[in-house]
Symmetry: D2
Subunit: 391 residues, 4 copies
């Protein structure tokens, strides 16, 4: 499709650190590898500090800057607001943007509370009625191996789901000397490992199985309760480097779950698994087969087909890079030339832009995000009370 | 040591199916590869059917047979009773044997109830006062890689334990057509996956970490509630092959746990994990490092040392076959010439006979077995009530 | 560094298919993640068909087009020529470009013959004397795990190299129905698996070990000697789809090698290894340790340190994503958020631009490319004669 | 089958160190797990030192001892001679035993020279005519995963063999301080890595593929040419511990090969691969699929089926422990309860005794052993001359 045939989609992004960099790479790259139905433009990026946001815009490829996100809502050249800020700001920005008629892509977790998430879903419903779209950024869904997993479940290849075991293991807080950041502050982050990384395995489980988590019992733990205040903040307070502050979120979250199809789930999210850097591990056992995935080997899906002859039955290590068979990969490189972490963000842009152009509601929707939030909330409440709770 | 210098130790074994075959191989093999301090003899094997037990004795290498286990207690040439029967008979046999002055090796789980296990511990205590020894057969402790894991924890190499994730995954009940057996009968087996295989990962966790599980919340599930009656029983009842009977035990058990050192545990035992044949998986994350083990690759231990330089830090795949460094292996083959499932039983004989000769209490003791039983019992009660329970 | 402080570097690229797409992504991406010392611009792309090159320019992000590569040499706004065409054209374009004062990045293999490669080295030497730089695109050197491998060898961590075993395994020609392409035409490609993929493992071996391959004995094989002519060509000839043509290159190449440090090498390149998609596998055994790499798990290097205590010695699975310790990765994502195939091309741009700005000769040089070519040539001659040949 | 129904087979074993221990375990264990058609008895073991052989007999379970192997040939109670001595003695013992009407099991390599091996084949032929059987001990054939590999090839599941890559990697000579032993003495051992471990991968290749190696070009290397004389010998010579002696065999052997079906082979045997303890690795690529095996994970075979749908194609990790489908394992333990190194020796006894009882020629025959010897011989001569040689 030629540029002239494509309507323009101006994007404004709020926030430009880790997630902002990943989203920028996606907005830059998607139109180079995929035949997008809209002509995306990286119109504006928002940050409070004028100099730093200007530097970010130049580095990341945005055409202009704003220091107040409200300005995006007033700009006619911005059609979509991409929210890459901490969770405590999501609801306000997303609701305002949707009500202003801007499509929204919002980073996960959707919000820090169920109440906020419910308001966001209401706003998304209002917006959808006017053709304005909202999506939440559970990016890992866009890893080709995860897409294949979902497809195999949907095709009945593993039968009825009996077990889900899901882990998201990192180790960057194992060292008590690692300083405080907003991710350890309950006000900003809502929760710790639970919301930051546990949210991903909840979403992946519900996405791949097509089922809902219906009940949970959980435990949260904070192994290191005081941490050094980071130098830049310490300097401001004039007290030097010995200052510490409280960690107000969980370091680790474990929970058991019942699934809507009758299966059992076991979930674990932690930043204290020494040696595990970003290990998102999923194993699903069904009546006819099993699936296993580990993000440390992200281009691979393991699949066991119990219908296979006993002599040759075994987990197949599928390298998910076949153009004719696996989602997204036809746009990239030959078989075996694997993708990396950032590619899922590019696929997210492709799916979002395609949905907007087609007039479809993109997935995962804000309602999906709320569903995840309700699970996380039930886990938190369950952990307080020591009992099982329905979601 | 020459035979003349060694005191004789006559062994009588009760039961001769799966576990009996494994124990027999161990009694036959231990003196061939290890320099045992006692001269073990395979004196008698017990079974109810005289013809079948005679066939078993010939095949497995036992010198005589009995059809009533009480007879072992009367025989002067039997010094040790090796109990390889279903769990509902353990308490009676073990207590009688100990009270009769016979050493006892009892298969796991120690008993089907905590009450029985407590009586067994009392009997073991009485016996110990008279120099009579009791051991419970948590055999997987004797896998060299597990011994290394315990050693590394004891040496402080992984620091303070923060996470244990332990799974015992099998798939032999995935097919609803698999017929009933005593392992699915609560009266005989006590419980299902929980006691049969969950017991192993509870023991391994407590053994490796040197800590106790202090609290649990769990869930049990029976996915297939009716199964065909096996042909031999069906024949007896005269009703033909369509008869089914109820499964009275759990197919799967999952539970969360708190550890005495402040860490969190996540446990899962199931016979419905399609494609996993006997996957005992343990991963332990501590403040200074991590360990990982999978019985599907049983000669290997993975160890992450967080003190290692960041450039070369990584999980080490240790092939646990070095004579100078790893338990038991000096008696066997050169490096890399791995051991199999049965070798752990041989090591169990070696350790038991050595303890008896030295006048030491062997480990795992009946008290250790009771400790495991209390965890399993707390999981069962927790699963009924939906709450956390102290062990 | 601000844009105003950076000199401009205009790039002209010849060819825009697979390699052209990978190079374009690199030119677009490098300045977004790395602080390049020159301001790179994607000035022009060259292709013979005006419409198709215009489409490619728009899609890939080039500012202008040319239909004759000679035009690049006349343009003042082009400082560097990036050659992404088949091997038979490399020498002519590269020599002309260097003599015209343009820096050159030339895809591998450097040339189809040693004679051409020698002329290219002479041109690169002439150019270097005038401050004009030449580099050959052995991209896999820029994978962080490969950089770490070289560093560990250079630091003496594996001691004296005794064994290199290197394989490049693909399977895309396993099916005899796969049609002919220029890669199976000796005139265009020079050789088959040997030059296309064998060249990479020769370069990687010499790069990582810092040694030269000094002698070889090899064998080449063509398993499928006739293949269908691809439809678009078949149509032109008017003969329909049954036409076949001869394969004039090797399908597979195997060779033994002696290394300059006294070690032995075993090399294998094939497109007939069913199930292996792009498996570049290297294992190097030295007197003090070993290294192993497989591109199917490209963010990982395995390292065995023989100085390690016997109890815990084992291959370490190093996830090569640590900002403080591993090359390139600080510019990208947090630990464990892996890179993909294309990132090595971005790193290639970074290293090339840095060398040009610093006035250094970039590596791998044309002389390095000639060195690889001489090995490939010796293998071909050895295979004809059935004897060992010095390189 | 009852004992009374079985004819007796008296076994006499020559040598009782590493191989003798493995064979003894096999003779002891085979009748316990398998229903052998003959009643095997461990009649006599032979060693030169009367005290040491008596100790070995007691420890290993042999009923009597001899200090001269010729005595076995005179004993009526010995029906089979099991030769576990160094290669230089194989021919003399085996030929004499066969000519005396004793069945022979001879450890590999069959002999130290082709000439000796040819005489042994002639003796085996003479013996076979009289119903006396001869087998050579390429034990690894009896690993269940290897049996499955052969079956899959025979069933056409990987199609026509195009590539074999086979490695046998150990590291026990990596340290120059490791002292001399008979395995480094050309007179005793015939060759070094080539005959000791290279012989195994040659046999496995020919066994699994059902093809012959038809031509080779190879290289042998001795990395450490002088080694300490072991203390016990040094003591005898009265010169103390500083004495060194020459290594007269190869440390490593690499060779290329052509296969009778048109495929290419790449072989490597070394004792200098740091970190690889006993890594027998085989990968075979055929027109329809591939197989991969690593003895470090000996209960597993990897199989790629190119006929599989592209979406789910991948190497299957087959755990080769299914009673209904995999050779030998029905006699042992439940699925996933893996076997170890020694079990292949037990399977060897089973197959040998079964062949003797059935009046069949057992495999691998002495002719198979001669075939391997001819390959090794061609490699040695090729390495001297630097050319390809037909086998």
């Amino acid at each position: 499709m030629g540029d002239a045939d494509r309507a323009r989609l101006g994007v404004g992004m709020v926030g430009y650190s880790f997630m902002g960099a990943a989203h920028s790479q996606a907005w830059r790259t998607a139109p180079r590898f995929f035949d997008l139905p809209l002509r995306t433009e990286m119109t504006a990026v928002v940050g409070r500090d004028p100099e730093r946001v200007a530097e970010a815009a130049a580095r990341l490829g945005w055409d202009s800057t704003e220091t107040d996100w409200h300005r995006l809502l007033e700009r006619d050249d911005v059609d979509l607001v991409d929210i890459c800020t901490p969770g405590d700001t999501h609801a306000e920005i997303a609701i305002a943007a949707l009500d202003a008629g801007k499509h929204v892509l919002c980073e996960k977790p959707l919000a820090n509370t169920v109440a906020e998430a419910e308001e966001m879903v209401a706003a998304a419903d209002r917006a959808a009625a006017r053709g304005v779209r909202a999506m939440v950024g559970f990016t890992y869904r866009r890893v080709p191996a995860i897409q294949l997993a979902r497809q195999l479940v949907a095709d009945g290849r593993i039968g009825q789901v009996r077990h889900v075991r899901a882990q998201y293991l990192q180790d960057w807080l194992s060292d008590p000397a690692t300083p405080l950041s907003w991710r350890m502050d309950k006000k900003k982050a809502g929760s710790g490992a639970l919301g930051d990384i546990g949210a991903h395995i909840v979403d992946l489980t519900q996405f791949i199985t097509g089922e809902q988590i219906t009940g949970v019992t959980g435990v949260l733990e904070t192994f290191v309760t005081e941490r050094p205040v980071a130098t830049e903040f310490a300097g401001l307070s004039g007290t030097g480097g010995d200052e510490t502050g409280p960690v107000s979120v969980d370091d680790a979250a474990c929970f058991l779950a019942t699934m809507s199809g009758g299966g059992l789930g076991v979930f674990e999210a932690t930043r204290y698994a020494q040696g595990r850097k970003n290990a998102i591990r999923l194993e699903i056992n069904g009546s006819r087969g099993s699936l296993a995935f580990d993000f440390e080997d992200m281009n691979v899906l393991h699949f066991y087909d119990a219908d296979e002859s006993g002599a040759t039955a075994g987990f197949r290590r599928i390298v998910v890079t076949e153009s004719d068979h696996h989602a997204y990969v036809a746009a990239w490189w030959p078989p075996g030339h694997g993708l990396g972490y950032e590619h899922a963000f590019t696929h997210q842009v492709v799916d979002l832009v395609s949905a907007i152009a087609a007039g479809d509601d993109p997935a995962p929707s804000f309602a999906d995000g709320l569903g995840v939030q309700r699970v996380l909330d039930a886990v938190e409440r369950s952990a307080e009370k020591g009992i099982w709770l329905d979601v």
